[in-house]
């Protein structure tokens, strides 16, 4: 589903005297359908960087990231913007710790946006969005409000709903339970398990050991794979 080979990523900070920060040094990783690979390095060691590179949010200097997409393979390092946008629309979902939205847009519309981009009709998308928000126990009175004013935990659950609504074949999860209470965490673990049962390939950074143990079918350390300590 996903194959990472010899990935290198160094940040050059031109505004700070051109300091070089090598973060990924030759990372290899293969992820198969139905697998949940947990990255288990200490913070600051490049877990987010790897996830962002796979999503083509960060641009690596060297290496390949092959993704099974629309019956073929796309290298996220080399592909042009149009292919990258298509992969994001159809194949890879990414859930970060932060929600970025246009003020004023209701939570329900935020959640169904990936489905609409997928080409699902509005009514069907709304139905699925409502079901998912209910499942994540976002109170119905909040659905028509902008998530900008929500609590951290509510925002994170909206973000998760947005990531899981479209059944992407590949999901990247960057600390998806970081600001959740115990009850919500259990809901999210269940949601991720369902996705694995649908053969979704998942790569995640879960700083919460309990969540990690509940979900990971395999753990990987970037350090062992050649990343910077």
């Amino acid at each position: 589903m996903l194959l990472v080979e010899g990935l290198h990523k160094t940040f050059t900070l031109h505004t700070q005297g051109g300091i070089q920060l090598p973060v990924l040094r030759g990372v290899d990783l293969a992820v198969y359908p139905g697998e949940c690979v947990a990255l288990t390095d200490p913070s600051g060691s490049g877990k987010s960087t790897l996830l962002r590179a796979i999503y083509a949010n960060y641009r690596p200097q060297r290496g390949r990231i092959l993704v099974s997409h629309a019956g073929g393979k796309v290298d996220m390092v080399e592909a042009g913007p149009r292919d990258l946008l298509a992969v994001r629309r159809l194949t890879i979902g990414y859930v970060s710790q932060f929600l970025r939205v246009i003020p004023r847009v209701p939570a329900l519309d935020v959640v169904i946006e990936p489905l609409r981009a997928f080409g699902v009709a509005r009514d069907e998308a709304l139905e699925r969005g409502r079901a998912l928000l209910a499942r994540l126990r976002i109170p119905e009175r909040l659905w028509s409000l902008s998530p900008v004013t929500f609590s951290g935990g509510e925002q994170q659950r909206v973000n998760l709903a947005r990531g899981f609504v479209a059944d992407f074949p590949i999901l990247l999860l960057d600390e998806p339970t970081a600001s959740l209470d115990v009850a919500s965490r259990a809901l999210v673990v269940e949601l991720i398990r369902d996705a694995l049962a649908r053969r979704t390939a998942i790569v995640g950074a879960f700083h919460d050991a309990e969540v990690r143990e509940a979900l990971a079918t395999r753990t990987v350390t970037l350090h062992g794979a050649g990343a910077a300590a």
Partner: protein, 259 residues
């Protein structure tokens, strides 16, 4: 239409003002349904580039091609004037930074919207008025104000009226120059939400010039960063904002509050 042909393709677009460079050697492909942001500080050449792309400014060198509804490719810069005016009326829309440049201040709001339809041959008064009525609602202008003159509107309302006037003919490509410039923050958010919905619902493509990186984060799929008339960096919007490569882009991104 051939899906493997960009809607707009520019190569080597260069424009001098005397010896001074307006923009130099700019190339881009814009695909159907895509929103392209052009960012940079004042004087970086972004408005000059927008003028060249939309056929309003004659470049010193370069080509701009547009793929029409029937799939034929036209050379925007070498088209006869009447054909270019027709294209601007039918397939294109231009949203000016100052709504007063895009509106006719001496006629009512409804007439501002209806006029563009009439220019395309619409003659049935009732239908034109109904469409204008519908569009005022879509851009959230109180429909009761259909007979008021735009001069009595706030600047945010004028901008929304200009957008209604531009989009009523369902253009396939919209050029926007700082569409949210000079507006209050609350009005900006409302306009951004509106623009994004219209882009999704109508499937239109847009080229948006702005100095506001936060605006591009929310509206644009891709970005070009300009400096001194040249494109110094390009990529997906989040790539450019989250992992800027060029020293100038890094400076730009690090100088604003949370784009």
């Amino acid at each position: 239409m051939d899906a493997d042909r960009p809607l707009l393709r520019a190569r080597g677009v260069t424009r001098y003002y005397g010896a001074r460079v307006g923009c130099r050697d700019v190339g881009l492909d814009l695909w159907p349904g895509e929103v392209l942001g052009i960012v940079g500080e004042s004087g970086s050449g972004k408005t000059t580039l927008l003028g060249c792309l939309s056929g309003r400014l004659e470049p010193s060198a370069g080509t701009v091609e547009f793929t029409g509804r029937d799939g034929t490719v036209v050379d925007v810069l070498r088209m006869p004037e009447p054909a270019l005016r027709k294209l601007a009326r039918t397939d294109w829309g231009i949203v000016h930074q100052n709504p007063r440049d895009g509106l006719r201040l001496g006629v009512s709001a409804g007439a501002n919207v209806g006029e563009r339809l009439m220019a395309l041959g619409a003659r049935h008064y009732g239908r034109i008025r109904a469409t204008a009525f519908d569009w005022l609602g879509r851009v959230e202008i109180d429909r009761e104000r259909i007979d008021d003159w735009p001069e009595t509107f706030s600047s945010g309302m004028q901008q929304r009226l200009q957008i209604a006037r531009t989009l009523v003919t369902e253009p396939r490509l919209v050029f926007m120059d700082e569409p949210t410039g000079g507006l209050d923050v609350s009005v900006q958010a409302r306009l951004l939400d509106l623009l994004r919905r219209l882009v999704t619902d109508l499937g239109l493509s847009a080229v948006i010039v702005t100095h506001d990186l936060a605006v591009t984060r929310l509206l644009a799929h891709r970005l070009l960063v300009m400096r001194g008339g040249e494109v110094v960096e390009s990529g997906l919007t989040d790539q450019v904002l989250d992992d800027p490569q060029h020293p100038y882009t890094q400076l730009l991104v690090s100088s604003v509050l949370q784009p």
